[in-house]
């Protein structure tokens, strides 16, 4: 026990957050020293700050194939999702459109925002997923109507990594005059994302999921899309998000976006090979294991595996005590007994849902880390199965 206090620590929880890239850290520090002005000020201090903000906006836009003017900076993915959903709802108020369609496997920042609107005259319609975690376009086809204001479907799922057929879903939404939003927090910066190919109108992203600073993010808003403001006040962000910009953070976000765009192809290939090696190795070396969710299409860094007769909570702790950091699902839901809503929506029973761990890889991981997992995991599982009989009900 507690080897971690002496040995190496291995971070396999990149879907929760990523360590900022050293160039990001440097850019943020430099911005705090050099960019002291308010980007809205007329003078030279302001103009220098404004130029840095414009540069960051251009880099974020380039990462997702949008135009800089379509990017509104936010304080992260949750705010971007709130902005997209509440903004679309505000814009549709007074019209015939009173329904928001989303899925059972969205992040809480989408689900709870739609639920909040559901308590205020909005109809919330949830699309199911199949056993592999995919939303069938036919499911949307069945429920959508000219009363639908917004369809919000995540691009990649945070817990299982599977990716949704957004192109097809966007076409259906648009055919019925609804806006299409995607929470791309787990895909932007990890896999190539092109807003025009996806066909969406709104796309949320978060800086700290791709080596940028925490508390930074953006909502891409297709030109011409009507959206009410989330924060009112000054005229920052083209009247769409009031408040003096988090300049150092956003400069860091811009650097992270530029780095991601440059590395995405090579890193995708490297990470998927590493992830596949991890997944295959676990399935081979640990009896009673299975992968949750479709193995393709999936972001290259994520795998979610269930371990029969294991309480995931205990296995997570056992691995952490050996210096290996993983997760039981969404970081936001740890400490609750409820089995993952994502795995449950896929039709997995509570026993399997509560015996599942998420491994999410990232830039710092190497084959040596995977080898270390193989050293620790099989015996940890064996020991838990022997000494702490899982009390998970079928």
């Amino acid at each position: 026990m507690l080897r971690s206090l002496r040995g190496m620590r291995i971070y396999l929880d990149h879907n929760a957050t990523t360590p900022p890239h050293p160039e990001v850290v440097e850019a943020v520090a430099r911005a705090m020293t050099d960019l002291v002005g308010n980007p809205s000020s007329v003078h030279e201090f302001g103009q220098t700050a404004r130029a840095a903000l414009d540069q960051a906006r251009a880099e974020v836009a380039a990462l997702i194939g949008g135009a800089p003017a379509e990017v509104v900076f936010t304080a992260g993915g949750t705010e971007a999702n709130n902005f997209a959903i509440r903004g679309a709802a505000a814009a549709a108020e007074g019209s015939e459109r009173t329904e928001i369609v989303t899925t059972t496997i969205e992040h809480e920042s989408v689900l709870n925002t739609v639920r909040a609107l559901g308590r205020r005259n909005w109809t919330m319609t949830l699309l199911p997923v199949d056993e592999s975690g995919i939303v069938e376009p036919s499911a949307l086809e069945r429920v959508i109507s000219n009363r639908s204001a917004l369809v919000s479907v995540m691009h990649a799922n945070n817990e299982i990594g599977t990716m949704q057929p957004l192109e097809a879903l966007s076409r259906i939404a648009h055919a019925h005059g609804a806006l299409m939003h995607t929470d791309a927090v787990q895909s932007a910066g990890k896999v190539p994302v092109a807003v025009h190919d996806l066909g969406v109108d709104l796309l949320s992203m978060s800086g700290h999921k791709f080596y940028g600073p925490k508390g930074t993010g953006a909502l891409w808003i297709r030109r011409g899309t009507r959206l009410g403001p989330l924060l009112t006040g000054g005229r920052q962000e083209r009247n769409r998000r009031a408040g003096t910009e988090n300049l150092p953070g956003l400069v860091g976000l811009g650097v992270a976006a530029a780095l991601a765009a440059r590395r995405i192809e090579a890193e995708t290939a490297r990470l998927s090979a590493l992830r596949d090696a991890l997944e295959e190795g676990i399935l081979r070396q640990v009896p009673g294991t299975a992968v949750n969710g479709a193995r393709t299409p999936r972001v290259p860094n994520t795998c979610n595996i269930s371990f029969e007769r294991i309480e995931a909570e205990s296995l997570l702790i056992a691995l952490d005590l050996e210096g290996i950091a993983v997760s039981t699902g969404s970081a936001c839901s740890s400490g609750t007994l409820e089995p993952s809503h994502v795995l449950t929506a896929m039709g997995l029973g509570p026993a399997r849902a509560q015996s599942s761990l998420r491994f999410s890889l990232g830039a710092g991981n190497t084959q040596a880390h995977i080898d270390r997992v193989f050293e620790v995991l099989p015996s940890a599982v064996e020991k838990l199965r022997r000494l702490a009989p899982a009390a998970v009900a079928g």
């Binding site: 205990s314 702790i317 005590l321 007994l337 020991k383 702490a388 009390a391």
Partner: protein
């Protein structure tokens, strides 16, 4: 680690002993359910969890929250509700110790490679010089002693139990906490049963078991009806308040009849009993003594143990005969047998 000062200092003492320590807090119930409102459930509250986490960080040990809501529900709360329904006065802390902390939690800890679990109980464990068996003893601070709640631990459980604050007094524990600069040093003690923070047991039982709130009669010892009551779960032997009766002399609950839902009341003198039957007796040494033993027997948490003769009977039962009558021996509470500060054993009062 509940976030209180006792388990915080216990953790500190373990960490300082050179052992590899891992801090664990148990999440036991969801507080949103009751009258508690928006709170996040845990052993106590979200603030207490933060306290535990801060202490662990300060001590430089890892800290985890383990979820035992389901087990706590099945092993402690269900028993608590059912005991009230059967006209007994439950002792959930003792159930939690033997059936959860030194059982499920110990299993989990062993799965992680731990050899023992330490808690902040005021009690002591040592070994009998002659037999080598583990002994459970009162904590050194007589006013804080919690051995009463630990009587049902077995030899195997005691072998894995560490009570680092058992050798300290409460003021010493607080002084230790201050010395270690733990921010919980002056945190106030908790007194209520953790899952009923407002102390309204009757309301809790009614939420879990609406049938409990069936009315019945209040009678005197001769069966004369004196009034009505709103459910037997509201009464405990020796209780004076809440009877809704007016009489010249104060009346107390003498006994509660679960089948007829009758609450029998009488004067204080009628509460005195010189004997009680005890079931599910745990003899700490592992085996019952060969014959009757002289002991001091404690019948509730704050009761000053009274001289008695304990006679072991078949089927894990025992009979306790006190030298002097004892007031308000309540079924469902524990009778714990002591010789000086050593716990011989104990069982549930019938």
């Amino acid at each position: 680690m509940s976030g209180g000062v006792d388990s915080s200092v216990a953790a500190a003492l373990v960490a300082r002993s050179g052992a590899e320590a891992v801090g664990v807090s148990m999440q036991l119930y969801d507080q949103r359910e009751g009258a508690g409102g928006q709170g996040f459930g845990s052993c106590c509250t979200l603030d207490d969890l933060h306290d535990a986490r801060r202490v662990a960080r300060r001590l430089g040990i890892p800290h985890y929250i383990m979820n035992f809501e389901r087990q706590f529900e099945e092993q402690v709360i269900a028993d608590f509700v059912s005991e009230y329904g059967q006209a007994r006065t439950p002792l959930p802390c003792a159930r939690c110790n033997s059936d959860l902390k030194f059982s499920t939690l110990l299993d989990r800890a062993r799965g992680l490679g731990a050899t023992a679990i330490a808690t902040g109980h005021y009690a002591r464990v040592d070994r009998d010089a002659a037999t080598g068996a583990f002994r459970l003893r009162r904590g050194r601070d007589e006013g804080k002693d919690q051995s009463y709640f630990l009587f049902s631990l077995t030899q195997a459980q005691l072998a894995a139990a560490r009570f680092p604050v058992g050798e300290l007094t409460k003021p010493e524990v607080r002084a230790q906490a201050r010395e270690l600069d733990l921010h919980v040093a002056d945190k106030r003690d908790s007194h209520e049963i953790c899952f009923v923070p407002d102390g309204d047991y009757a309301a809790f039982v009614e939420r879990r078991s609406p049938r409990a709130a069936s009315p019945g009669e209040v009678t005197d010892a001769n069966g004369r009806v004196l009034g009505r009551h709103a459910g037997i779960h509201r009464f405990t032997v020796g209780q004076r308040k809440g009877l809704g009766l007016s009489s010249r002399e104060p009346l107390y609950v003498l006994r509660v009849e679960p089948d007829t839902r009758q609450v029998v009341v009488g004067p204080a003198a009628a509460l005195d009993r010189t004997a009680c039957a005890v079931r599910e007796v745990n003899w700490i040494a592992g085996e019952p003594p060969a014959g009757p033993v002289h002991a001091h027997v404690q019948i509730r948490h704050r009761h000053p143990a009274a001289p008695a003769v304990v006679t072991p009977l078949e089927h894990r039962c025992a009979r306790v005969e006190f030298a002097q009558p004892q007031r308000a021996i309540a079924p469902g509470q524990a009778a714990v047998f002591y010789q000086s500060d050593v716990v011989l054993g104990g069982g549930w009062i019938q």
